[in-house]
């Protein structure tokens, strides 16, 4: 056994070897590596599933928002293109007349031409 000075800068190979032997795992290293890699795969899968869940949760509100934006854009654009001076409030105000009545009281699904006529008719 080397009697090294108090603060030896060099590792002690003898003590190091003895400690290494005492701490060395008995089993195959490959089994441990495989175990870590299985956790890696599981973590990757979890993160993929989580990302899909997030996208799915965004999808429905996103579609509703897009539809609403289309309707508002259509009404706004129509107002501008017709050089109307009415405000957007007027464009969005409840529509009265036969078109609306037909839409509300109809037994059958609404005819798109009725709906669009009610929107296009001068107010």
């Amino acid at each position: 056994m080397n009697e090294s000075p108090s603060f030896d800068h060099r590792p002690d190979p003898e003590l190091g070897a003895a400690l290494r032997a005492a701490l060395e795992p008995k089993d195959n290293q490959a089994a441990f590596v495989a175990r870590v890699m299985a956790q890696y795969d599981a973590a990757l899968e979890r993160s993929s599933v989580a990302m899909f869940d997030v996208l799915a949760s965004w999808f429905r509100p996103g579609m509703v928002a897009a539809a609403a934006a289309l309707v508002v854009g259509f009404l706004f654009g129509r107002t501008v293109l017709n050089n109307r001076t009415e405000s957007i409030d007027a464009a969005l105000a409840p529509i009265e007349g036969p078109g609306l009545a037909a839409l509300v009281t109809a037994q059958d699904p609404p005819d798109p031409s009725v709906v669009f006529t009610s929107l296009v008719e001068p107010q």
Partner: protein
């Protein structure tokens, strides 16, 4: 080894599974030994080493590639082992058997080496955790005092002191056992 580690890190960050696997293979032995020095129990140590690798994977983007990878990883592994030890605070990972640490009877058999390993582990378990880490990282894994200081977040002089005190205890034990083995 250094540049290759950095390349593997870069490839792992790019999503290359095999590169991460190579890093795990390369450092598995070291990580398991360091974790065992902290925890004692080999199963606990493997859990901690695994935690360390996965934690390192999550933090890989923070790794400064100008520095060596080993000390960065071992710091994470050692912390994972310490965390696990704290969580399981109620029991010692390896119960300290004072009859093993002290000068018990010396068996004149082929099991001497195995008995020495048991006594060394028991002696390690008796040391304060930081001292244990310091001596294993220095004498077993070959890291420098400066690197260990960075890993443990303590001054370099404190690392020297910890290694010195740990060695004094362990060398006494080892010398005690060398005589009958001759």
């Amino acid at each position: 080894m250094g540049p290759e580690d950095k390349a593997l890190v870069a490839q792992t960050l790019a999503g290359d599974r095999a590169s991460f696997g190579t890093l795990v293979e390369r450092y598995a032995g070291q990580a398991r030994r360091v974790a065992r020095a902290v925890l004692g129990d080999p199963d606990d140590a493997d859990d901690a080493a695994q935690d360390g690798f996965l934690s390192a994977l999550v933090k890989l983007g923070q790794y400064d590639t100008r520095r060596p990878f080993g000390p960065w990883l071992m710091r994470i592994v050692a912390n994972a082992a310490t965390d696990r030890r704290r969580r399981r605070n109620v029991r010692r990972a390896e119960p300290l058997d004072t009859s093993l640490v002290g000068g018990g009877p010396r068996p004149d058999t082929m099991a001497v080496r195995s008995e020495l390993n048991d006594r060394l582990r028991a002696a390690l378990a008796e040391l304060p955790e930081r001292r244990r880490k310091a001596v294993v990282l220095f004498d077993v894994e070959g890291y420098s005092h400066a690197e260990i200081a960075g890993m443990l977040g303590i001054p370099e002089g404190t690392v020297r002191s910890e290694v010195f005190h740990a060695r004094r205890r362990l060398r006494t034990l080892l010398a005690d056992w060398k005589e009958p083995m001759r």
